[in-house]
Structures are given as structure tokens and as C-alpha cells.
Symmetry: D3
Subunit: 267 residues, 6 copies
């Protein structure tokens, strides 16, 4: 087993993390943290590009963001559901990667896969910490009960080929990336120095963002994407007095050790 991750970002689709928290992941990697990305689906429903193309692109993107770990589950694209089997699969990844911080999508949004991923991810974090839960046995039970999820489960379990049972693990902190939804964030991460690389990581998804014929009425041209991404990052940066920012929400109250060190000018 490899070293635990400091941060694991979970999202529904390859290229989601790049849009919502890629700058933050890169910044943390630059600070020496081990970061990981879990994509719940493989993008087979996308209008453009095959799942295989997206896999290669996501690996290139992970390299740009300096992620230490990236995998994709086999939850069907367009059908992310908060089922017991899916919770077990995600909880299994959490036990494997043992992150201190988990980044989830915000729990409201336009795309059902996004908001469902948020609830699924949260409940998986909870399950991963239950000492008496044997995830592999539970997955095998699901397997025999429902034939339709059998192959998926089998592939997940086989993937690890592990000999030892995964130890319980619960992340210390869960935060929510809110960029896809117009809500006031709890805090912003300054990504001024990471902005260009983060944009590059998004552009690594050539099948999605190159100017092309397929889906040109629903996909904006590349120049338009740049303008949009930049204005969003500037907007959230401006809330906190920096040039470019990524927005996050946490459910808990803050805890401040030195009130003279609180950032962001009031007046």
C-alpha cells in the first residue's frame, strides 16, 4: 500500500475536478502535499470523445496538476446513484488512499451526476470509518444478490488483489467545491500562481475542448472557454482580494487561533 493522500478530490466526470478545484490541487502539490483524484464515471455518455480518449487525457491532466494518484470507477455516466454498492465502492477507495481532506462537489447543481456525487461521496466517507464494516465481503454480498452489478463489483475488488483487509479510515475534513453553482463560498483558495497550469490541465481534454464539428452548438469555442474560466476565477478571487480564486464551502464553523491574522480586508 502506498502512502496516504493528503487530499482526495472526488467528482462525477473526468474534467470536473479540473474545472472546480484543479488550481487548489496543484497548489497543494507545490506545497509538498500528496493529492489524488477519483472520477466516479468513465465518460461514456459524453457527446464528444470516447471513454478511452478521456482516460488518456485525464492522465495527462493529472500529470500537469502533479497529482500523486488518479483512478476512475465504473459507475455509469449519467447514472450516478447513491446506492449501497456505489457507497461501498467509494468507501473502499477512501480506505485505500486514506486522505486527510476530501473535496466533493457541492450538493446542488444543474447536472444530476454532480449533486448525487456529493451525497454519495459524503456517505462513503462515513461508511469508510465504520470499524465493523468489511467492505469486500459486503461488496461480494451485493454481487450475488444483484447480477447486474456483478461485473462492476468484481472488477473493483480484483483491481486491488489485496491480501489484507483495508483498515477503517475517516477523513478529518470534507469540503465542497462550489464553482458549478451560484452560491456564496465559505472560503476561496488563491490560485493566482496556478491559474495558467490549471487552464492547461483543462485543455488537456482535447476531445472536449478543441474547436470541432461534433456538438459545436452545445460546446463553446476555445477562446470563449478561456474568457469564461478566467472571469469565474477573477470573480471568486475578487471576493477575497486576490487575482484568481477557487470557491469552496465547508459545513462546520471555523476556528481561529489569532484574530489579527484573519485574511481578507473588511473595509
Amino acid at each position: 500500500m502506498t502512502a496516504p493522500l493528503d487530499i482526495l478530490a472526488i467528482a462525477a466526470h473526468r474534467d470536473d475536478v479540473e474545472q472546480t478545484c484543479g488550481g487548489t490541487l496543484l497548489k497543494m502539490a507545490e506545497l509538498g502535499r500528496r493529492t489524488g483524484i477519483l472520477d466516479l464515471t468513465r465518460g461514456e455518455m459524453g457527446t464528444r470523445g470516447s471513454a478511452a480518449e478521456r482516460e488518456a487525457e485525464s492522465a495527462e491532466s493529472a500529470r500537469i496538476l502533479r497529482a500523486s494518484w488518479r483512478e476512475a470507477l465504473d459507475i455509469p455516466d449519467g447514472r450516478v446513484e447513491n446506492t449501497w454498492a456505489n457507497r461501498l465502492k467509494v468507501a473502499r477507495v477512501i480506505r485505500q488512499t486514506r486522505p486527510r481532506v476530501v473535496i466533493l462537489p457541492y450538493w446542488k447543481g444543474r447536472h444530476p451526476d454532480h449533486y448525487t456525487a456529493s451525497q454519495l461521496g459524503y456517505e462513503a466517507c462515513f461508511l469508510a470509518g465504520l470499524a465493523k464494516l468489511d467492505i469486500d465481503t459486503a461488496l461480494r454480498n451485493e454481487n450475488s444478490a444483484f447480477s447486474q452489478v456483478a461485473s462492476a463489483v468484481a472488477s473493483v475488488v480484483a483491481h486491488e488483489k489485496q491480501d489484507v483487509r483495508l483498515a477503517p479510515h475517516r477523513p478529518f475534513k470534507i469540503i465542497y467545491a462550489t464553482l458549478y453553482y451560484d452560491i456564496r463560498p465559505t472560503f476561496v483558495v488563491d490560485i493566482t500562481d496556478q491559474f495558467e497550469s490549471r487552464f492547461e490541465s483543462l485543455m488537456a481534454y482535447k476531445s472536449q475542448f478543441s474547436d470541432q464539428e461534433a456538438g459545436k452548438d452545445i460546446f463553446p469555442a476555445r477562446a470563449e472557454i478561456r474568457a469564461r474560466v478566467e472571469s469565474m476565477a477573477r470573480f471568486y478571487g475578487a471576493l477575497a482580494g486576490v487575482t484568481y480564486g477557487e470557491p469552496f464551502l465547508q459545513k462546520e464553523v471555523g476556528l481561529v487561533e489569532d484574530v489579527t491574522a484573519i485574511p481578507v480586508k473588511s473595509i
Copy 2:
């Protein structure tokens, strides 16, 4: 002129600061910060104790909280109003003491003096930063226009006997102490180590909190006060996973440098 303050807490009445942010002020003083307290009124409407008694008690309390500076304005007790003259008086104190952080009461509450002090304090912070505003001249103009505020203004201006005009100053940060109002705070300050001294600072107001005949139907007995103060501190501490806490609200979003260092357990 003395060294600038790191923190200035502004409240309507002597003994307000002790209840809402005394632990935080002491904690900051223990960290080597210079703290100050501005009481807007002198307590002449209080059911118990004279203004003179309260002055002595507030000095003793300031000593316990290790405050570097404490003064009281002469705004009438029970009649804190957000007037131009009052804004000038408070702005003048801000220019004198030059705090980086100002703590105000929350802008809702049961006592009109409390919530009005919040708005008055905020607008005074704004005025204090206007480079072209000559506060002493403005106060003198108010003085001649309204005879009834003359003596108050005169006393404030005379108090300083300064030779040089006060330079503009705007605090970097304004936070709101919310203990008097049932609202979810933005953050909590852990005052576990300061709790006993903070309670002692409140008990320094012997005229208010000793068991006595006058007003015994509106003032709780001392044992009851201890239980109440402790349960409030424990409640807000529990929100942040510490034993005793004081609650605050800030209007701005946060800015996080390292997401792995965010305190308060999520799950």
C-alpha cells in the same frame, strides 16, 4: 501618541465586552498583542451601581484581561444613536488607537444600544479612513450647531489635548461578536485556557453581579450566572470541537492557504 493597538473591541456598555469577547482579548494579549476596549456609554441607566462604581470595576476588569487601553465615551446610556456626532467621536478613537482589527457587537439583538453600536461602530471605521475628513473641525462644527452636544464634544476633544491632526486610519478587519444573539457564527475562538480569567473579569463588576436586594428579580443569582456563562461557552466550543469558545461572525469570505490545515473535524 502611544503604539497602535492590534485589536479594539467596541461595545455599548461596560461589562459587554467581558461577556462577548473577553476570552479572545485575553488570549490575544497572551500572544503578545496590544488590545483595547472602547465602552460607548458610562452606565448611568443601569439598575444597579453608579457610573463611578462601574468605572472602577471596568478598570479592574481591563487589568484581568490584560488590555493595553480602555476608555469610555459619554454617549448617553440607553440612547446610543448612529448620529454624525457619535460617528465622529468613535472615528476619532479609531484614529487615536489605530487598530488592525475592530470587534463590534452583532447587528441584531435584544438591546437597542447593542445593535445600534454595531452600525455606529462600522460607519465610524469607514469615516476614520477618509483622508480629507478633519474630525476635530467637524466635531467643533457640530458643537456650535447643536448646543446640547456641546459639552460632550468639548470633553472628547479636550481629553486628548493633541497638537497634531490625527492621521486617517481604517482597520483591516472588522468582526462581530455574536454571543448575545442566537445566530450561527462564522468562527469560534478557543478560550479554554482563558475561560476562568474571563469569568473573573465579569465578576469584577461587583455592583452588577453580587447577590443583592436591588433588582433581584431581573438579575440572576451568582451561581446561576456561572452556569449560564459556562453553558454558552461550552455550546460554542462544541461547534468547533474545543471545550470553551467565543463566537464571531465576519462578512467576508475566508481565504485558505493550505486546505490540509483547516481545523474542525467534519465527520
Copy 3:
């Protein structure tokens, strides 16, 4: 069939009701009301204690709270789901016990079992009132369709050995116990006279709350528990001007017959 209950409290785990509304249940019993408790799970996922130990403890606790009825369903601990089968099981209990008031957990929280129990309980209350719904037949249909829920369902149905079909019943009132979540309650119940017994009922769960080795990093010591429970009860009591209180939320507006009789001082 026994007499209908006046109040039925539904919660996910044994010892939940003791923490969120035990004082209220005891107070109602002292007023002569028949109260009941339905625990949805049997606690097999708990870090400490076996399900069997918890069953004995919960019976002792029910005795202390003077509950007229207490049972536990066999929904898996850590996997409370709002499924048709689970809704039928809970609806069946509602038809059996015929409560006027149902107390549910609040619909947000840290533990997925808690917030899911809230939605599950609400929808079960709805189902229980549908005159044309034959719950036992519906449960048997579920039984044959999904083999994995068969034994559970069978046990529930067998448990009653009843000859007559349960009559439809819908509770008049549903209220939500909010103690586990930091939200402003609609109302508080004064449990000053019940506080000590309520704490004793919680301590009846010796497997959970005795100082012991297992799980000592996640369970607070007993003295700490007392302090926490007391500070919460005092905090909510203080909102309503009483010593100890339990917080509740209702979705409906209130209806006041005599405005001069509204309790809780405003100013």
C-alpha cells in the same frame, strides 16, 4: 391490540432518543401520556458493545423514561435507506401503535442514518394513512421479489401473528428533534424536572458510556459527557427562559388561541 400511543419517537439507533428527546418523553409520561420508542436498527455496527447488550440497555433506559412501548426493527446499522420495504416496515409500526404525535430526527445531520431516518419516517407516516394500502401483502410482495430482504420482512410480519388487517392511521402531528444539528428550533420543551432521569437513561447504555479501553479516542470520558449534555440542555433552555430544554422543529405554522398566554419573554 393495545391502546394507541400518544407519542411515538422514531430514531436510527438505540440511545439516539435518549439524547434528543428523552426528557420530553419522560415529561409526557409523567403527564399520563402513553409514549413509545422505535429504534430502526439494532446497533451491530457500533464500535462498542454487542447488539444483545444494547437491547438490554435499551430496555432499562425505556423503564427509566417510563415508555409504554419500545421495539427495534432489523434495518441494518449504517445502512438506513428510504426504500419501499423500509417504509412499509415503519408504516406497519405506525398502524400498530397509532400515535397522535410522531417525533423524528431532523432531516440534516452528520450521520447518514439520522437524516435518512427522518425522511423514511415521514414517508412511512404518509403511507400508513393510505386506506387502500394492504401493508402485509405489500411486504410479502417485496419478499418474493427481493430475496435478500425476505427474512427481515418475514420476521416483522411473524412478530405480530395478527389475524386482522391493520387499520389505516396517520399521525396528527410530526415534530423533529434537532439536538444533533445546529439549527434554531421552533420550540423548546422545558425538561428541568426530567433532566437527571434523562441523563440516567443515557447512562443505562453502559457498553457505550462507561470509561473503557475500546474506542477511547472517539468516545469522550463520562465526566465530559455529563458536561456536554448539560451545556446543550442549558443552551436550549436559555432560549426559552428555562433551566434545561430540548429543541424541536415543526414545519407548520403555530395556532394561538390566547395571545396573552404565549410564553417566553421578549425583552
Copy 4:
């Protein structure tokens, strides 16, 4: 001095109370409570009718509502301001009438006089309870400082011709009538039995509500008024399961003694 009031409703204009809480006042009178109405202004800015006409009409309306007390202050219509002098005037009435419950307008609304009356009324309730505040002396001081309020103040003070200083008094409860503003109320009062008389009390303002030429483009015809008033009463009644209701908001949480007695069906 007469007996204290049980309830005092304060509003900006004659005929406001009739629209927002007339049914509740009548219901309380029928229960044997002593009710009072304080109109802050005398209606001189109204498009229709003179102040004198309105005075006669308001007396007739008070008779229909069985109010034990009704007076109007001389605050200028269209210029209700939350000044020290106005707070003193209202606080003086509170000391005179000593109500247990004060009904104020809600603090948001279309008409500035309404929302300002809410804040003015609240702060007057606070002032009235300050033991060390000598209201008549304070009014005389205002009098000499500002000549323009002199006659008003004099008339208020003279009105009473009292020999003894008014004792401090603070109402136990303050509630807000929300009918003029689209906000969800905390509770509703069932005025089904009072609805017709309440409508009659409104129609007592013949200068306002008779079909006539002046202002016919801004005043609805009488039949239309009936339909509107009825639909509002039915809407708020329906929230609480009764035929006609009046909506109110309270800031405090509720306190429930018997949860089986909470009215309003949930499901």
C-alpha cells in the same frame, strides 16, 4: 390611573390595526381581556378624509372591536421617525397603559411609516422599562432643545395632568402583525368568529372605503376590498387549518408544555 391593558396594538395610521390584527383584538376582548390601540399619526396626509373625520371613524371602529382604550399621538403622517422624542412619547404610553403584550407592525413593508413604526415601537418598549429614565423630564429637555417639537411634547405631557411619575414597565411579549408583508408567519390566530365584525370595523372608515370620486384610481371599490380582505384571511387561515386567520411573527422560540396538544395537522 386605569387598570393595565392586556394587549396594546401600536400602528402608524388609523385603520392599520383594523387590517392587520383587528380580529385578534376582538377575540381577546371576547375572552375578557382589556385591549388598547395606539395610532402614531392622525392621518393628515391621507388622500381621502380629514384628520377629524378619521378620529370619529376610529372611535366607532374601536367600539366595534370592543377596545378598552384608543388614542392617537401627533407624530406627522408620512414622517414617522425613530427619534428620541418619538421613542419617549411611545414609551410614555406604555408606562401609562402597562400592557402584557404589545403588537407591532412587521419590520419590513412597502410604507416607510409601517416599518419605522415597528422599530420605534420596539425601542420604546425597551425604554419604558428603564427604571432610571424619567420620561417627562426627558421630554421637557427635548422640548427646550428643539423648538419645533415643543407643542407636540407639551400636549402629550399635558394630556395626562398626572401628579405622580409613571412607573417603569416593560411588556412581557412583543409580537409582529405581518399581514402587510409576504412573509411566512410564526403563528396564526383563528378569527373565524370575529371576521365579520373585523370587516365591519374597517368599513367604519367611511371616508376611506366608501365608493367615491376622490382617489378612485388608487382606492379599490368596496366589493373588491371585501374580496381581498377575505382571501387574505382565508389564505392565512388555511395555513393553520381554520377558515379565517390573522398572521403574526414572534422573534423568540416557542415553549411547549404538552406536545400532544400542539395544534395544526402535519400530514
Copy 5:
């Protein structure tokens, strides 16, 4: 295949649409728009009337509302669930009818079928637009996996007897009818001219709304229904300055071309 619909209203039960947006549907039909109604269930759980009676009544109601299309799915009454199979069924209808605007119930409410229909409808709109999703194949896969949904699915697929695969379609706009829930709407539609016909369409459900013995304690008498429906329509009309209105909510911000043309008087 017939011409696309301009508007499709989706609701859980026959007679829901009549209560929440019938006036709007009729108004749109009078403007020349093609409107449709999808009832998710067939009403077999209703206390009064059979599913067959309700079908005839709903056809009569559709005639009164001048709807171009109306069908009912076979989702079980009282058991509307947001499952993959149900999402596919609704998405299939959206591809068939190709509406520009979809009206859904609001996502909170008293009846679980109502709020679940809201989420189910939203996610179906999303699925219907996925170019790579072959709905009929997906339904057949569900069919073989779960025998209990087989006949339902088969009937839906057979119903169309279509030769060509349905093209992807996503509605431009989704709005939510909020009449069943006390929330402030985003906008109101003036149904003053449609009110009587809309009421007539509701009365077409004779099995539900005629005065009769069965269920007379839960169904209000006809005269009472008229009064309730009228007061609701008047209440929402009054918010927008018209006589009768129906309330809706949209999640998106508005877009205004000419600010001088914004309706609804402010002051």
C-alpha cells in the same frame, strides 16, 4: 410523430395539474400554444373513485383546459420513486413530446409523490438530452434485470409501436408550480380570464369533489373547495397586482430586455 409541444406539465396524480397550473395551461392554449399533461400515476390509491373513473374524468378535464396531449404512466400511486426505470419512462415521454417548457411540482411538499415527482421529472429532462442514451434499450435491460417492472416497461414501449429511435431532446426551460407549498414564487401568471374554466376542470373529477359519503371527513364539501381555490388564486394574484394568479418558481435569474416594461407596481 405529432408536432412538438410548447409546454408539458408533469405531476404525480390526475387532478394535480388542475390545481397547480391549469389556468396557465389554458391561457397558453388560448394563445395558440400546444400544451400537454403527463400524470405519473393512475390514482389507484385514492380514497374515492377507481382508476378507470379518474381516467375518464382526466380526459374531460383535458378537454376543458384545451390540452393537445394527455397521458398517464403506470408508476404506482403512493410509490413515486426516483429510480432509473422511472427516469427512463419519463425521459421517453419528453423525447416523444419534445416540449420547450416543462412544468414540474415544487421540490418540497406534504405528499411524498409530489416532491419526488419534482426530482424525478428534473432528472428525466436531463437524461432525455443525452445523445448517446438509447432509452428503449435501457428500458429493456431494466426489464430483464427486475421482473417486477417488466410489464410496466413493456406497456410503455409497446404503446408507441415506433419504428425509429427517439431523438434526444432537452427542454429549454423548467419551471416549478408552487401552489401546494407555502413559498414565495418567482413569478405569477395572471389567470383572471381562465379562473372559471380552471375551476370547472377541477370539478370534472366528480369522483373526488362531489359531495358524498365516502371520505367525507377528509374531503371538504364542494362549497368549501370553491372558497379555498378562490382565496389561493386571489392571494397569489394580489402579489402581482392582478385578480387571480398561479404561482411558479424558476431556479435561474431573469433576463430583462427593457426595464421600463417590467410589470408589477413597486410602491
Copy 6:
């Protein structure tokens, strides 16, 4: 007297309107509407530039925005107060210019002049419609009572030299420009075609926005301003699916005539 305005934008400082609603004003002018701008103060407190310079700049900006009318009142910069005298002054302008729509700043914000201008403007709109209010007489009364406002009032009244009394006028619609405050707008106006001219109008304030020595630590460089202004306009545009937008809030619900014509894509 000139023709009535279609729209009057009221703001505290010269250059506020250019930042919050300049694009909308220009768009309306291009549609043939008569637009006006009322600046409440003359900018004498500004760190850069004199009041005289600002006057010339504001005239140039008005020309670029094609405003039909622009004036500045003499309310002191940094001391916008919601007094009777100020309300009368603004109400007088409303009677003079007779706008159908008034644009006010949002009622929360960082700068006290901004949020106070919002309340002042609202209450002035109300006063302007009171038929029995003779504004000039009321201003003269204020004049004699308070000597310090005498010259200001005199100048306003003299300014017009009118012979006839101004007729009452109340705007039909009041909307709030929210760009200075992070709140979700009710609607956005598409200013894609006006964006460059609007930016030019802001740059007409050379004393404020040229790169220069004075205040260079508080004023951003010109290139930075461009980036900020553009990202804000893009952010709000994106909410409504257009390139550049200006955000507004209205208090009233909307009224929709044709639901198939509602703009902004949902999904």
C-alpha cells in the same frame, strides 16, 4: 418643465452609476428611452480629484451614456443620511423628472453612503407621491428650524425658480443595482453591445482612474480595472447565458404573460 424621464438612476457618488448600471442606461437610451442620473453628493471627500473636476467628468460620462438628464445634489460626501430634509430634496427631483422606473443602489454594501442612499431613495419615492405634501414649503420649514441646512435647501429651491407647485408623482417600479454586493440578482440586463461604451464612461473619470501617484496604494492600475470590470460583467452575464450583464434585484414577484417566452436556459 421638460418631458418626464423613463428611468432615473440614483446613486451616492459620481461614477457609481457608471459602475453599477451604466450599460443598462445606455441600452435604454438606444431603445429611445429618456434616462436620467441623480448623484446625491459632489465627491468632495474623494482621495483624488476636486468636486469641480468630477463635475466635468460626470457631464462627459453622461454624454457617452446618452443620458437626457444629470444633476448632483449637495448632500455631503461621506455623510449621506436618511433625514427628512434629504428625503424632501430627493422627492423634489422625482416630482421634477417624473420617472417610470427608479434604479437605486442595493440596501447592503461596504460603503455607508451606498446603502443609506438606497433607503433614502426608496423613502423619497414614497414621499413624492403624497398628494398633500407641499415639498417646497416643507423644505422652507426645515430651513428655518435648522440653520445648518439652510443654504443647501435654499440652493435647491432656488435652482428651479419655478412658479408652479410640483405635482405628486410616484414611480411605477423601483429596482436595485446589486453589482457592489455579492448577492444573487433577480435579473440581469444583457449589456454585451453596450459594454465598451460603458467602460469608456467610467474612464471619463480621469481624475479617478488614470494611473497616477496620489492614492496609488488604494487605487488599482488602469489595466487591472479593465480586467475586474470585465470579469464582473462576464460573471453576471454567464448567469443569464449572455456575454456581459448587469445585475439587478426587485422586491416584487414577476408577472409572466407567456411562459414559453421566458428567457435563460434551465438545463
